[in-house]
Symmetry: C3
């Protein structure tokens, strides 16, 4: 059977992990805040460095919130499919665990080695989780239609390109993007959309009956939604400068999400002929407000501005689910399982535009001495808000280009018939990959048969 993972998945996992371990052994070192010698060395030379100044205490609570978003948030958000809960949570777990290691290396390579070594600490952990988030966004587009081997291969390429794009934006163009409207959401979305375009399955309707939710699977998905929603203020503020920027980013994101939620409920009911709410919208569009302030959140966007952005993001996201997704599938052959274009794509672009405008409007009068804590080049005296805004816009264009090109190439690589992709008749089906299900190919539209699970059906519910 084509999806046989008998050797492919385990060998790939083992080989990748062995490579990772070797590279970590050769290249990775503790940074000054995690190194027994360096932290104390610095301390002994100067009386000003106390334990509470260790970056751990500024960043670790944010890191854990981000970590929850990556593993519980993304993992459970995708459990909405009725027969794909094990794979949603499980493959999310696998590719995230791989990606965060690979991202540590790739981001370390690109963003600057220290005497040939990559330095790690809580900030690198957050950045690695961020990069992983991008891969999980792309996962949302191909959910149910790709084997775990394909997903790992996708992660290898996407993480690498993510690091390159991030380097171009943050280091070369000097862009601001603390919450990753561009680097994470726009990149992950358009990369994933291009991959799913290349992997287009004309006969996917053979698995259509499984490409939907059941009552309890929608409740599991709400666990993911709510955790993403709650912790998004931590996500956007996790790597800003200490003090007011971190505080302000969390606050702006909080208001943006609240406004977005009201827009989501409003438009979900408005676009329904009976005025009913659609769980798909609530699960996804209510989060668009977090995506859309990913760039401008650290700036003086004001709660007022944040709420306007959040309201717009929720609105375009619901409208996208209702009117755009069907067109993307029928006209452009883009089969986007989770609708990432609506949750991450359009709101990410919106966030980039808002960031460019907010940058262009920045002034010393508003920011005072805080200006250089938000715009790094303000310190050098060369700062010019209009050109800053321009560079932000260029950053969006670069991101779109990198994502579409990278997704195209990666899509063709994933199309090679060597990864055990699931057949059209068995997409969105846990039984292909997980023990305990008895697949019945003679009854492709019939129920899953499993000694265990059938028995349990009789007995418990």
């Amino acid at each position: 059977m084509s999806t046989n993972m008998r050797l492919r998945l385990p060998l790939l996992c083992i080989i990748l992990e062995v490579i990772l371990i070797i590279l970590f052994g050769a290249l990775v070192e503790y940074n000054d805040d995690t190194h027994a010698k360096m932290w104390n060395a610095n301390k002994s030379h100067s009386a000003t460095r106390d334990d509470y100044e260790n970056e751990f205490y500024y960043r670790y609570p944010s890191f854990q919130d981000v970590h929850v978003m990556i593993f519980v948030g993304f993992g459970f958000l995708m459990t909405f499919l009725q027969r794909y809960g094990f794979s949603s949570v499980g493959f999310n777990f696998l590719i995230a665990a791989f990606s965060l290691q690979w991202a540590t290396l790739m981001q370390g390579f690109v963003h600057g080695m220290h005497h040939g070594k990559i330095h790690v600490g809580v900030t690198s952990m957050i950045n690695a989780d961020f990069c992983t988030g991008s891969v999980l966004i792309s996962f949302g587009a191909v959910l149910g239609k790709t084997s775990p081997v394909q997903l790992l291969v996708m992660a290898i390429f996407e993480v690498t390109l993510f690091a390159v794009n991030e380097f171009i934006l943050l280091s070369m163009l000097g862009a601001n993007d603390a919450g990753g409207s561009m680097t994470i959401h726009t990149f992950g979305a358009y990369f994933g959309l291009m991959v799913t375009r290349v992997l287009y399955r004309p006969n996917l309707d053979k698995s259509k009956h499984r490409n939907s939710s059941v009552y309890h699977s929608d409740l599991f998905a709400m666990i993911g939604t709510i955790y993403l929603w709650m912790f998004w203020p931590s996500f956007n503020s996790a790597i800003t400068n200490y003090g007011d920027p971190q505080h302000r980013t969390a606050l702006n994101t909080y208001y943006s999400l609240a406004a977005c939620t009201l827009a989501t409920f409003a438009f979900s009911a408005l676009v329904n002929p009976e005025g009913k709410l659609d769980m798909v919208h609530i699960q996804n569009a209510a989060l668009a407000g977090g995506v859309a302030v990913g760039t401008a959140g650290e700036m003086m966007l004001t709660p007022f501005g944040s709420m306007i952005v959040g309201f717009l993001a929720g609105t375009i996201s619901v409208l996208g689910y209702k009117y755009l997704t069907p067109v993307l599938e029928s006209k452009l052959k883009i089969q986007d399982t989770c609708g990432i274009h609506n949750l991450h794509g359009m709101p990410g672009v919106l966030g980039a535009v808002v960031g460019a405008v907010t940058s262009a409007l920045a002034s010393p009068g508003v920011y005072g001495h805080g200006l250089q804590r938000v715009f790094a080049d303000a310190e050098t005296g060369k700062w010019n808000p209009q050109s800053r805004g321009g560079f932000q816009a260029i950053s969006l264009a670069v991101t779109l280009g990198m994502a579409l090109f990278g997704g195209l190439v990666t899509g063709f690589i994933l199309k090679l018939p060597i990864y055990g992709a699931p057949p059209d008749t068995h997409c969105f089906e846990d039984g292909l990959y997980w023990e305990g299900f008895l697949l019945s190919q003679a009854l492709p539209w019939g129920p899953l048969h499993s000694k265990e699970y059938n028995k349990s059906t009789d007995s418990i519910l």
Copy 2:
């Protein structure tokens, strides 16, 4: 159909959010700890203000725990109903997202403007979430019997009255209530009980078959319970003074909850003829210990005192579920879906009384220089423990009065036949509000019919 939300819900959401945005634009500003100019302005004038002194680092982890309680805790606690999981989590999400914005304004108006502006930061976020908690408590009383339009209207009034009551207690009476035994729990409970009294449905038994749990819905509800239980120490300590009061409050709450849990299991089994445990008690009464130390938690209650209070709270809560709730419904016509009287009402009153007694017993001998960090007026020299205790007792009376009066008025407003309240035959039913269910009015006692969900039943379980 009377519950038609075709236009009412979306228009209400849009109008409310537009009003919120306008008011935020006119009135809300960053406070000194979130403002780029102000934070750095202060810093540059004095060498003593370092980033780690930003209130963000003292309060944000607590805020996130509170946030989880509001959205996951309350949201999932109410998913115990077999057919109302979408609405429980979804409407909780909607009214919380609205309430936290509205509360920011109302609390800002009442508690003191700065040159005509409301200042926001992490403390205002926590306070807004607290106020939201009160609305969600009331939601528990009317769960399943009110449309989302009614819930939003209720939130408008309840948030406003909450802010007024909170102002009277904290600013005028100088009361202590860091964890909100009075302002949040007592207020939310009696407000909600009065609303549900006014909205009494004599024929609610037509929906009785849905007003109960199933196996998995009880497990989802336990997610809510456990998160509320775990993070209650953060809730009670979130806005106390820094240092020992915050630390002590968390500790007291931790012990109170642990003792409460043993009491809950004990009395749940004791009141059952077969000695079996009742999930309703475990899900709810085990939390009463957190409610009951909401006022005294920051004081020198001692672990010993906290455990006694927790044990009592768990006991009265279980006994309330067993013996009082049926009487409230049959005699007083109070239909309290979640039993908020047992979880928030009686334990809230207990907490207020414990707070009054503990205040009255405070002395400089016990508190030392820490006295004024708990009792603000100790600094002025006018502090008198007995009168403090008296003011605490008056605060309880004021809260009860405000809650009952406010609930009465709000109840009559919600009774107007313009909000699409669900019919008696379709209470506790997601299908009224959510896409994907096919309601069968011909079979009011029969199963929900849904193409999607019926199919899935065949195929997955």
Copy 3:
């Protein structure tokens, strides 16, 4: 019926809680960081102690993560059983709430009283939660086969012995074990394995049909798994020294877990004839990496070393589930419901060995001035890495001996026919303990009958 809890459970709970309250009243005091008088007393005598130096701000976020692991992590991990979800989460809740109080006393007695008083604060809360974790590990071995009365009795003895063993290791032998590879995991595992050995049920196969998972119960269990996995860095770092040790421990654990996850997926597929993944492995073995760096995590293990340890831990854990657990049951008569030997036993021993080796390899050249922050006796000048390594190895031997002996004695105590142990035909069955199920003993292999739950089956799924 033998499992009748009519009086036994409630009386035991009440008596235990009353004893706890009395002992807390007599013995427990706030420590300096939670006491209104002491914190401020110190402050007023010296200008150097600011609120941000209160241990609360260093430890409380870690505490909350640990707390989530104890109540959500362990609680939901055990919901994988199809008919035992209420008991898994509920009894986990009960015995954890008891154990953390009892542990506060036992650890306080043993680790040093202050003028006859036990001092409590956030560090004691973490330590009490740690001890509780050990009891919950043992619970995993006897899950489904013991009444809550038995579990409470087990907790009484296990907590006591835990405190003694911890004292011997940390205070007498001067061992390092911040994340508890030995004190928590090895101790809890072998204690529990010995208990279940003594409680061996030759006819347990009468309940075999319920000793397995269903689709949704496996998803609930994944909630537990993911939370344990995410917060394990906080667990291992929660009570290390401030600054670089805490930071480094979190980092090492993060990498160990990531590598462990890839090993788990690899070997889970590899040992399956069809190359399919087994949910049991993913739910459990992926966590072994956290266990295995519980001792060495605070040392200069390096990310490289952490990943090797994590990879090994995942590998032996999967192989244990596949090949060792069946042998333990058939040959040694050890019925280990959750496979704690594979998740906590072997990885705990591995962690102890890794800790001994890493200790023996420590040197001032690598640690610099940080040496004494990891190895307390380095300050005294008597430090010798080889003997340190030796003491670590002795600590493992002591732990194994204490656990096996303690489990043996406790097992025989639990075997007394006075605790209402469930009959062989009704193990793994919520209906014995929880209201709302109608047990049908005439149909031991048939479905659970319950008016409520049967009705709901018809109507919702």
